[in-house]
Symmetry: C2
Subunit: 275 residues, 2 copies
Amino acid sequence: MKIISENKAFGGVQGVYSHASEACACEMTFAVYMPPQAENGPVPVLWYLSGLTCTHENAMTKAGLQAHAAEFGIAIVLPDTSPRGESVANDDAYDLGQGAGFYVNATQAPWSPNFQMETYVASELRDLVTEKFAVSVHHGITGHSMGGHGAMTLAMKYPGHYQSLSAFAPIANPTQSDWGRKQLGAYLGSAEESWSANDASLLLKERGWSGDILIDQGADDQFYDLLKPESLVTALVETKTAHSYRLQKGYDHSYYFVSTFARDHVAWHAERLKG
Amino acid sequence: MKIISENKAFGGVQGVYSHASEACACEMTFAVYMPPQAENGPVPVLWYLSGLTCTHENAMTKAGLQAHAAEFGIAIVLPDTSPRGESVANDDAYDLGQGAGFYVNATQAPWSPNFQMETYVASELRDLVTEKFAVSVHHGITGHSMGGHGAMTLAMKYPGHYQSLSAFAPIANPTQSDWGRKQLGAYLGSAEESWSANDASLLLKERGWSGDILIDQGADDQFYDLLKPESLVTALVETKTAHSYRLQKGYDHSYYFVSTFARDHVAWHAERLKG
């Protein structure tokens, strides 16, 4: 693991690191914020998965998570959203290929050699972070848009890996949206049966989630129709999954929305991870 | 005045606007955050001046000021750091020309037709903001690096314009630094007598500041030698100016440093502007 940068922030350290990923078969960059409390021993850790076009950097600089992580004494891990590099497959569209890994394991050419983001986040990077940083066994997961969807699907697919879950404006029902059908078709192939295990609304009905979920959604989100929030709300109610769903008046899809409610989410996870 | 964008944030509105500037003879862009309290009437306003290479956008997205502005009920104005455009003089160096206006009024070619940032910030944009936004007559000023210096010099040059003052890692003594001599020479000419009215440490001894000043400086600032903080500390002590100077262990010159102490600065201004 290489250190790209480390900056003191809110009494802790905001670091950016890279490592040779086996799952993605390329060098991967990620960010970790360690709060000051980590000096006294392992702290719980919150995974934040970012959305389409993002790297580890967007939320690191714009979401304002560090102040809250320092307040509540939890670490934050920010993975990249896809494998990257000249030898990695890509597409000219912003919503496919590099920057758009969708947190799934691709089975189709040309994506499958590198686009193994599910395994990368849920296993490989998890092991690396656990080995290299003073984090406890208490992990939570959240994310924004494509990353909110990834947080929900990984939490449900890997029972026991994550003890707390939330999402900011998640893609909610990708098998029924242009934000999903295109990517699942490319990465997993045209057989739609393989898609349902990577759709949060369908997965909730199939596998469920043992804990509760906090979801914030902007009522003025410019991508509201693509996110399909109504499918998730229906699934939450049908499955009687404990949750807090907040439709926030006037907020859009931007980091201004994320940063406004970031403290609530960190507090939500801290309560469940430290309780 | 044109609206470039408006996003709801922390219950208020983060806006970006542009207008035809008379002082700078070009279109100028600036950002304003209006807190939710502004719905009930005019609120105090804090001016934040950014550093070399920045636009209005860097602090808007990275400094985390909105949360604190909403908490304390004050507006934030973020001007650009220079005139911009193809018809505006520039230099290949990052520290001269566009992005490096130094908050002075240039007297020399090719800069003088556009580089009138002192007049722009202290008068023209002040008048525009007062006219267009629900802000009160209570104005404070702060800034980072070149902007921290601009905050101090404008506060001292325009008595009565600003009732509160602070700075993050300000350039402190530009007449004695490579961050200053180059720019003051270009914008004001080689006669160094004209420089002293644009040097915060010299101006403090000459004109003084009637209020108190909060200054945060990172002890591990990578530009420490260029900032010349010791000159300012000496001037503050010699002039018996009321101040709080905090050398912060482990912090560098980045926005991680600024965001860590941003709440303290907003609170400092709020106490003086609302008291």
